[in-house]
């Protein structure tokens, strides 16, 4: 029985189960070290904290799966905060307009990333890094160096409100996750992300318009980044340069990669959710243990490198996981 279950799960399932186990171990550890942390309110707080990273990593993960990387997400988040807060000026009636404008910005800027990457041989790293710099300059110019404005009450509610004890933003995140999960599993547009990442030439030969799909993927990544920036703004309440930034570039890549996503199209969005939960939990655990930014930074670096090394085909993590789950009498797999 057990053997067939393991086989049926496949690579992704195995990784998800392992990640859930890691998550449980972390929770248990934090419960033992700091007993208060296992209370429902604290767990929900962790969930809330993981939302901005989670939303950003959803987009980032799509980009990673397509074989690229998006290092402009951090600045896009800040852009959403600066422009959004300025347009709203704390008024609800302006909120919709502000959200629309900001979303459009995210889509267009992300789309430009994708278009240049698809049309030329510019490495995604350089393009999105450059785009990050451009976006940063643009919002600095926009606000003249002094962020103005504040977030409207509606957005504040979305960012920091609660229904009973349940914070609202994780629910929004689940909604977005559902939409993107549908996109990645049940639409050809989303499916092609995986195919392009695995073999973009074969994807082209199979009739996939690879260029336009890349534009779409990077546009979604931009959109997710600005959504995440808006949610974070809703929590912070005012225009502030510290929303977003470099840390989110690295952490979103880390979350995607820890979630088992590779640059050749293997993985899925569920991994991004688990990955961002693990990273948030680990960070929060380290904070409560009094470990500063230094330790967190080291942890991130080690986790990224080791996870990628483990998931690359050469080291055959799946094989190891299978052995780990004590699968015996495996059938011979012809090479």
């Amino acid at each position: 029985m057990r053997i067939s279950v393991v086989r049926k799960l496949g690579r992704t399932g195995l990784i998800y189960i392992s990640l859930v186990i890691v998550l449980c171990v972390l929770l248990a550890a934090s419960g033992i070290l700091i007993p208060d942390t296992l209370k429902a309110t604290h767990l929900l707080e962790i969930a809330r904290q993981s939302v901005p990273l989670g939303i950003t990593s959803l987009g980032q993960t799509l980009v990673i799966l397509s074989g690229g990387i998006d290092l402009s997400v951090g600045e896009m988040m800040t852009l959403a905060n600066i422009v959004g807060a300025d347009l709203m000026r704390g008024k609800d009636e302006m909120a919709l307009k502000a959200i629309l404008v900001v979303s459009l910005l995210g889509l267009v800027l992300g789309g430009i990333n994708g278009w240049v990457i698809a049309q030329t041989d510019v490495p995604p790293l350089v393009m999105t890094f450059g785009m990050g710099s451009i976006v940063k300059g643009a919002y600095l110019l926009y606000c003249g160096g002094a962020p103005k404005g504040s977030v409207s009450p509606i957005l504040r509610t979305l960012g920091s409100g609660r229904l009973g004890i349940v914070p609202i933003s994780p629910l929004l995140f689940l909604g977005l996750f559902g939409v993107l999960l549908f996109f990645s599993k049940r639409t050809t547009w989303g499916r092609s992300t995986f195919y392009i990442g695995n073999n973009s030439k074969a994807a082209y030969y199979a009739g996939i318009p690879t260029k336009w799909r890349l534009v779409l993927i990077y546009a979604i990544s931009g959109l997710m980044a600005v959504f995440s920036g808006l949610i974070l703004s809703g929590y912070i309440g005012i225009a502030n340069f510290s929303v977003g930034g470099d840390a989110y570039n690295m952490n979103s890549v880390a979350a995607g990669v820890v979630g088992g996503n590779t640059f050749n199209g293997q993985g899925g969005l569920g991994g991004a959710v688990l990955g961002s939960l693990i990273i948030t939990l680990l960070t929060s655990l380290m904070t409560s243990l009094g470990i500063g930014q230094a330790g967190k930074s080291v942890m991130q670096g080690v986790v990224i490198t080791l996870m990628v090394a483990l998931y690359t085909s050469q080291t055959d993590l799946v094989g190891k996981l299978k052995r780990f789950y004590k699968e015996r009498g495996r059938r011979h797999v012809p090479q």
Partner: protein, 322 residues
């Protein structure tokens, strides 16, 4: 035997780059008195040194078709180490050695992760960045410390009253890199590897060894850049190096080294450093918002890469391929 001596493409590119540098200095100098001043020239040269070293180092990984994202963190680490150890344990020399040694270790780790774990350079060096930044923050959580003047004088001394010694060191570094790339087997193999890794290994080149050397060099040069920065700031800053990663990549790319590897060199990189540096000085002098400089830097990097990629594609098309 008749031989046609023609100016090669790469030479033409270098000439264009240096004419651009010249123009970018001469034209504003004609119109602006403060720009003409000796003080301004000294400033430009002084500012060019730290980023110059980092970009020299970055040239190596990009030449083999890789990248080193950890240089910024190495710069920060170096300023922190310098500010903490030179003043306390006294020894300037041991301080410098410590910095360079630490950087070499970072480079080795990069090389090992890339060679042994087969992680792509982008991710490997991104991971190292996290670790190195963390260690830096542990050494020095906030900007501060003190770099003894016994050390800073070695950088800030002005030859003939205006030419900063830091820039002289940069020129020496440039010369060394140029010699390494052009007059050693290692250097030529860097180009071969960047041209085609597989074919290079077929020709009997020990690819992994070259890669290791490349990442160590890149890290060590980043550290020298960090020393120059520490001497200028006279203190340490655990975040000071962050912008250096993008700037160094930008300078290398603007200097004509291609991301596909095998094409370019440090002479171009030096021009790239000068162009980026002059640009920000010009924009400052004309009172253009420093914010716009961000936009411009991003645009220039992307434009330089797009330009290179379109050029190489047109070569392919000329060959009748798809």
């Amino acid at each position: 035997m008749r031989r046609v001596k023609s100016i090669s493409d790469s030479k033409r590119q270098l000439i264009t780059l240096y004419l651009t540098v010249l123009g970018m200095y001469a034209i504003p100098a004609l119109f602006s008195a403060p720009f003409r001043s000796v003080q301004n020239a000294t400033n430009i040269l002084n500012q060019a040194a730290p980023i110059g070293f980092v970009a020299l180092g970055q040239t190596f990984p990009i030449l083999i078709g890789g990248i080193d994202l950890s240089v910024g963190s190495v710069v920060s680490l170096t300023t922190a180490l310098a500010a903490v150890y030179m003043a306390t344990s006294g020894g300037i020399f041991t301080g410098v050695c410590l910095c360079l040694f630490a950087a070499a270790v970072v480079g080795l780790v990069n090389g090992l992760v890339i060679n042994k774990l087969r992680v792509e350079p982008l991710i490997a060096t991104l991971g190292t960045t996290g670790v190195v930044s963390g260690i830096t923050l542990a050494i020095m959580p906030y900007p501060g410390g003190y770099v003894p003047s016994g050390f800073t004088n070695w950088w800030s001394y002005r030859v003939f009253g205006f030419f900063p010694l830091a820039f002289v060191y940069f020129l020496v570094g440039l010369l060394i890199c140029h010699l390494i790339l052009n007059f050693t087997r290692f250097g030529r193999r860097v180009y071969a590897l960047g041209g085609d890794e597989h074919k290079a290994s077929v020709a009997g080149i020990k690819v992994k060894r070259i890669k290791m050397g490349v990442y160590v060099l890149s890290s060590v040069f980043a550290s020298i850049g960090g020393l120059a920065l520490a001497a200028r700031m006279r203190s340490g800053d655990p975040l000071a190096g962050n912008p250096f990663t993008l700037s160094s990549i930008a300078a290398v790319i603007v200097g004509g080294t291609s991301f596909t590897g095998g094409v370019g060199g440090v002479i171009g990189t030096a021009a790239g450093v000068a162009i980026m540096g002059l640009l920000s000085v010009i924009l400052n002098i004309y009172g253009i918002s420093p914010f716009f400089q961000n936009v411009l830097a991003g645009l220039i990097v992307v434009a330089a890469v797009v330009f290179n990629s379109i050029r190489s594609r047109s070569i392919l098309q000329a060959k009748g391929r798809q």
